[in-house]
């Protein structure tokens, strides 16, 4: 990195949660009205995984009924609404973090956990969420947020279950965060 002579401003504060929530709701509303599509995330991760796997073992992917549906319609698995949306999420978060002075290589962890354990927890939790999101046909963005705003019964069941799962597990992993 260049040795900067310029003074670096301190990281900005986060937005008021209600302001942020309404802004988030307006983005979601725009998505529902303009694109007739909810916002999502885990669907794109699924497509990335299947693409990577099909590069290694194409026949295997084609024979799996769950994965084969992703390239239905003749489009590449990555040629998809959610993939472009998540690319946008990446860029938007990048610009937001940089302009707020928060773009920095870091590992966010609790005070009593070592770096390797934190990274193992991040990976392991991710794997559990990957399985969970496929089972529920979506994650907190696609099911809870988008489906919840459309008052879908399944989405509200999902959302309550997420909070239940989080609170149920919180006690057992408190060493990680406290």
């Amino acid at each position: 990195m260049p040795e900067q002579a310029e003074t670096t401003a301190r990281a900005e504060r986060f937005w008021n949660p209600y302001v942020a929530g309404v802004a988030l709701g307006l983005v979601l509303l725009a998505s529902l009205l303009v694109a007739a599509h909810g916002l999502g995330a885990s669907g794109a991760a699924n497509r990335v995984g299947v693409t990577a796997l099909s590069a290694l073992a194409p026949a295997h992917v084609a024979s799996n009924p769950h994965m084969a549906t992703l390239s239905a319609g003749g489009h590449h698995p990555l040629d998809n609404w959610l993939v472009f949306e998540v690319l946008g999420v990446l860029l938007g978060a990048l610009v937001a973090a940089y302009s707020a002075g928060r773009l920095k290589k870091k590992i966010v962890r609790g005070p009593n956990i070592s770096v390797p354990w934190r990274l193992a927890a991040a990976l392991g939790g991710g794997i559990v969420m990957g399985i969970a999101a496929r089972l529920a046909r979506g994650c907190t963005s696609g099911q809870a947020l988008s489906g919840g705003a459309m008052l879908s019964a399944g989405s509200w069941v999902f959302m309550l279950a997420v909070f239940a799962g989080g609170y149920a597990m919180a006690y057992f992993v408190r060493r990680q965060w406290r």
């Binding site: 990195m1 900067q4 990048l94 610009v95």
Partner: protein, 324 residues
């Protein structure tokens, strides 16, 4: 009397069989990168030479910034290796050098490429310090090398001005040649635009600056590169707009080629990867860096490099695809 329109779409590509795969875009990208590094390094050296020999902080140069030009021959070598993989008849390479045709860009390009190696290496050598030359000679354990290096160094330093301009000129030639090459190789409506040369040149400049900005530079070096890069991105966006305006208002084949990017099957990937992720977002990040005095981040240069590769890749693939 009937006018014969020569701008047509190659029937080979209409069959839907792409002739070129990853090798050509990678070659074009690395060639543009080498051109950009040459121009950027030469311009930087010129800027700092003006400052005189005073040892104030602003005239300090980082070793990375000084020696960056050596990345140009390396990138070019890699690119030519990729090109070689693409050639069916590898031995034919030599034929480029046994004939010279004034009207053939490929022939021109072959000779430009050949001139770049000595130009960049000599320029790089002229930028070295004595201890760096000592280190190199000691590392290679060749006794005579020490004297040869010193001789070449003083020869090159006396011709510093000439070498600087030679590197800028060769860089511009190489950068434009990577764009003209596409138009010369296939009669595709998309590639025959005369704007492709300038477009690839400016994009190459931007990627060259981006690659340099990945290194630990001094503050002034970085600020200069960043400002040049912001101008280059602006020019590149304007050239892209002109390219499409030209295609849309031109012959029918051109209109159909432009339609691939204006609603056709390359629309989303082109605008997302090349324009938004590869140009607009880096420009925004660099503007924020200036306006809000943020520490420079490596992300903007990385995005520029990705966008530069995507530009060439998509143009090469789209040029070979059947028109919709």
């Amino acid at each position: 009397m009937n006018e014969i329109v020569r701008v047509h779409h190659n029937p080979l590509s209409a069959l839907g069989q792409p002739v070129w795969h990853w090798e050509i875009p990678v070659y074009l990208f690395l060639g543009g990168l080498a051109a950009g590094v040459m121009i950027v390094s030469a311009l930087l050296a010129r800027r700092f030479a003006d400052g005189g020999a005073d040892a104030s902080e602003t005239s300090q140069r980082s070793p990375w910034g000084r020696l960056m030009i050596l990345a140009a021959p390396a990138a070019l070598w890699l690119g030519m290796f990729a090109l070689l993989l693409d050639l069916d008849l590898k031995r034919h390479v030599l034929r480029f050098y046994t004939t010279f045709q004034l009207s053939s860009p490929m022939s021109w390009g072959a000779w430009i490429l050949l001139a770049i190696y000595p130009a960049t290496l000599l320029f790089g050598l002229s930028q070295t310090t004595e201890s760096e030359r000592d280190w190199l000679a000691a590392k290679l354990r060749i006794g005579a090398l020490r004297r040869i290096l010193e001789g070449l160094h003083s020869w090159a330093q006396q011709r510093q001005r000439t070498l600087t301009w030679a590197n800028i000129a060769l860089g511009v030639a190489l950068g434009a040649y990577t764009g003209v090459l596409l138009g010369a190789l296939g009669a595709r409506a998309l590639w025959s635009s005369s704007l492709l040369g300038p477009l690839f040149l400016v994009s190459g400049f931007s990627t060259g600056a981006a690659l340099t900005m990945l290194l630990p530079l001094t503050h002034r070096e970085h600020a200069l590169l960043r400002n040049w890069d912001m101008i280059a991105i602006g020019v590149e966006l304007a050239l892209l707009a002109l390219l499409f305006v030209g295609l849309v208002s031109g012959a029918q084949a051109g209109q159909r080629a432009a339609a691939l990017f204006l609603g056709g099957r390359f629309t989303a990937i082109f605008w997302a990867l090349v324009v938004v992720a590869g140009l607009v977002v880096p420009l925004a990040l660099e503007s924020i860096e200036v306006l809000r005095r943020r520490r420079a981040a490596l992300v903007a240069p990385v995005l520029l490099l990705v966008g530069g590769l995507a530009l060439r890749w998509i143009l090469v693939v789209a040029g070979q695809s059947p028109l919709g």
